[in-house]
């Protein structure tokens, strides 16, 4: 039986050579980034061992939350339809089938560790983290991710029928994070006198105090894993490390025992989940980013009424209505919001590395970060699924109008997202990001999102038959290329006004961002026209 599973697994790997090569290159890239840290000579801050240990603890907390979310969301329910057909209905035991789904969920849980590896040079430049330090952190964080993922996966399968238990688990996680945040903030205010004073401090100092706080250290699982490395760095393993190692072994053995002795029936829920996963796979073939595919899952029929639109505008109102049904806060792209947290973290690190006079550079780094993230969120938007249905082709309206109406239905999401991006950049860059720059930034982001979405649709129409990896790969290259094109004229215009308004950084930034908006607008019109032509002159998707 295990041979059959191994055969299926290896055979499926052989059929996915390109994704496998990309994954291996990614892993090798992450590994190389960590191993080359000791050769980095650029530093923005004096090496600070305590700040580094604090940062490790904070990252460990984020790993814990992420692994919990991944395990709880899909975990042991992450089966494909073929798993259901061949393993659930086939001659395989429940325990065999229970462990089967770890291959996909486990990999997702480890993704965050890879992300940290890939960005580890930033830690070196900021606070002097060495290769050995990052490896020490990774060992601890790996066990945190492993225990948390296995634990939350078990909870999700064990209580798959019990909504109340699941809500309690999620609320407990959120509450523990909130309580930790409040306790640490109370300590910081105690040290510096007021919240305003806390905000004025060097980020490295704040990170040092948060990460090494008593409350962080005692936070279950996530707080413990860095204790061992902290004690090694500070001069030898003490009793706390021994207790932590013992606790980890006991918890891990306990979870394995739970799995071995488990006798709950998760097949029905796994089957239900498999249909959703099949939808996600189908959507990803059309070019929808996996991050955008969970939205329809939560939709429930409420009191909302669909009663607007006529001709092509029916598409706009129908999509807007779908978004409203999926969430009362339909203008919030939840996945984009998670990305913003990551962007905020990156910008805070950059803020810590740079002196105050470089805040203008932070604005530019912030804009670039937001653009790249939006290329993922809106470039792979769910609008491309419209091409999997016949109505966009058969409804007697001009194709360009129908297409535009579908794209426009995402404008509320784009506007809200642009507002969040604006607040993040303002929080980090402060003074130089003035009112004029902020207004032009809002407009520029919405136009860029429209451009990303349209370019994503164009790629989906042209490249679907080459497979999702080719589609997504080309799409990102194209959008990054478009980002760069938008920045080139911005530099020229900025140089032109710098002489005339050298003392007004708000005007300079406004001109720079507005010229980007102008270029992106022209590019959007060009891509929209091209998409309309492609839409009219190519075959409909083969799924129809």
């Amino acid at each position: 039986m295990n041979n059959a599973t191994a055969y299926r697994f290896l055979h499926s790997l052989r059929r996915r050579m390109l994704p496998m090569v990309l994954v291996l290159l990614g892993v090798a890239g992450g590994g190389y980034a960590v191993l080359s840290l000791d050769r980095i000579r650029i530093t923005f801050h004096a090496p600070d061992t305590e700040a580094m240990l604090g940062l490790f603890s904070i990252l460990s907390l984020i790993c814990f939350d992420y692994a919990f979310a991944v395990g709880f969301r899909s975990g042991v329910l992450g089966y494909s339809l073929s798993d259901v057909v061949y393993c659930f209905a086939g001659p395989f035991g429940k325990k065999h089938n229970l462990f089967l789904s770890f291959t996909s969920g486990g990999a997702s849980a480890l993704f965050f560790l890879w992300l940290i590896c890939a960005n580890s040079p930033l830690m070196t430049m900021w606070i002097g983290a060495r290769t050995i330090d990052v490896i020490g952190f990774l060992i601890g964080a790996f066990f945190t991710v492993l225990i948390t993922f296995l634990g939350s996966s078990y909870l999700s399968a064990r209580f798959c029928d019990n909504t109340k238990a699941k809500v309690i688990a999620v609320v407990s996680l959120l509450a523990s994070n909130l309580i930790l945040g409040l306790l640490v903030l109370k300590d910081l205010i105690g040290v510096f006198g007021s919240f305003e004073q806390v905000k004025q401090q060097d980020p490295a100092l704040i990170v040092r105090l948060i990460g090494n706080s008593f409350y962080t250290d005692i936070f279950p699982i996530a707080g413990w894993d860095q204790i061992v490395y902290k004690e090694i760095v500070r001069g030898g393993i003490g009793i706390r490390s021994i207790i932590v190692i013992a606790l980890y072994i006991i918890i891990l053995l306990g979870i394995i025992l739970l799995y071995i002795r488990s006798d709950f029936d998760f097949y029905e829920h796994a089957y239900d989940n498999a249909s959703r996963i099949a939808d996600i796979i189908e959507a990803s073939k059309a070019g929808v980013e996996a991050v955008n595919t969970g939205i329809a899952r939560t939709a429930k029929v409420g009191k909302e009424v669909y009663k607007r639109g006529w001709g092509a505008t029916a598409f706009f109102h129908m999509h807007l209505f779908e978004n409203i049904r999926a969430s009362k806060i339909f203008f919030i792209n939840k996945v984009a919001l998670v990305y913003r947290v990551f962007a905020l973290l990156l910008l805070l690190i950059a803020d810590g590395m740079l002196e105050e006079i470089w805040d203008v550079l932070l604005v530019i780094v912030g804009i670039a970060t937001m653009l790249v993230l939006n290329a993922i969120v809106f470039g792979g938007s769910k609008t491309v699924l419209e091409f999997n249905r016949p109505y966009i082709y058969t409804v007697p309206e001009k194709s360009g109008r129908k297409l535009m109406m579908c794209i426009f239905s995402d404008i509320p999401e784009m506007l809200f997202d642009a507002l969040i991006c604006l607040l993040i950049i303002k929080l980090v860059a402060r003074e130089p990001f003035g009112p004029l720059a902020m207004i032009s930034f809002l407009i520029m982001m919405v136009i860029f999102d429209l451009l990303s979405e349209t370019a994503g649709i164009l790629c989906a129409k042209l490249l679907r038959k080459f497979g999702k990896f080719a589609l997504m790969g080309v799409r990102y290259v194209l959008i990054v290329f478009l980002i760069i094109i938008g920045m080139l004229p911005a530099e020229i215009f900025t140089n032109l006004v710098t002489g005339a308004a050298a003392d007004n950084i708000d005007i300079i930034l406004c001109v720079m961002i507005a010229s980007m908006a102008g270029v992106y607008f022209l590019l959007w019109l060009a891509v929209l026209s091209l998409t309309r032509v492609v839409f009219e002159r190519t075959d409909a998707n083969d799924i129809l």
């Binding site: 999926a326 190519t538 409909a540």
Partner: protein, 232 residues
């Protein structure tokens, strides 16, 4: 009236439709009959304007990709493609608005007819395949098209829905509409058809007009197996 004139559809070097020509007149039910892979769905999709092709297709004398032709065409795809989060009723409302059809109560009539009234608040993702197919049919009939094309419409339907659908075919015919149905299920077409085109390898291998029982003429089933098994 539906006219297909010298239509060829190629995928690289493979001709899914090879110089197809046929006409289905008003008040006629035409059947495209053939085994899997004969090219039935390809020509149906070409008529619906989903594919590029060489040749001409006209709906009531208008090229099929013109907006006026789209207004007069109803298309039921082989695989129902509904919106996950729209209810049955909202699907029909969306189509009514998209096709600019005044609200004359046709929505309720169609829902009653296909026994979907009690499912009107169910979302697309909550429906079985058969139910989705019924919604898909209702959507195609919503704007009262004069030419209606069905791609494998019986697949997934329960016996009652099949019976109802056959009545719909007859009613459409009686109302002077043009109906084209693609199917590989020879036993489901019985005798409501006017003309059958048997397709094989992208071509029309035989055409039979319904003249009732003619002494000495092969049955449709015998003709079908003679062509399809003879080719294999």
């Amino acid at each position: 009236m539906l006219t297909v004139n010298n239509v060829t559809k190629k995928y690289k070097n493979f001709a899914a439709n090879d110089n197809l020509s046929f006409t289905i007149n008003d008040s006629e039910i035409g059947i495209l009959l053939g085994p899997n892979g004969a090219g039935k769905s390809t020509i149906i999709k070409s008529i619906a304007g989903l594919l590029r092709y060489q040749g001409d297709i006209e709906i009531n004398g208008i090229p099929n990709k013109a907006l006026e032709a789209k207004r007069q065409l109803g298309y039921i795809p082989e695989i129902p493609a509904l919106y996950d989060t729209l209810t049955v009723e909202e699907h029909l409302e969306f189509i009514r608005r998209a096709y600019k059809v005044e609200d004359t109560g046709i929505k309720d009539k169609l829902l009653d007819r296909f026994e979907l009234s009690d499912k009107r608040k169910k979302m697309g993702k909550e429906l079985s395949k058969g139910m989705q197919q019924k919604v898909s049919i209702c959507c195609a009939l919503m704007h009262d098209p004069s030419v209606v094309i069905f791609d494998e419409p019986m697949v997934g339907l329960d016996p009652h829905a099949i019976k109802e659908l056959k009545l719909v075919f007859q009613e459409l015919k009686d109302a002077g509409k043009t109906v084209l149905i693609s199917t590989h299920m020879i036993d489901t077409i019985e005798d409501y058809w006017d003309v059958v085109h048997i397709m094989m390898h992208g071509k029309i291998a035989a055409t039979r007009h319904n003249r009732g029982h003619v002494e000495g003429e092969k049955s449709l089933e015998d003709l079908f197996f003679e062509i399809t098994e003879g080719h294999s």
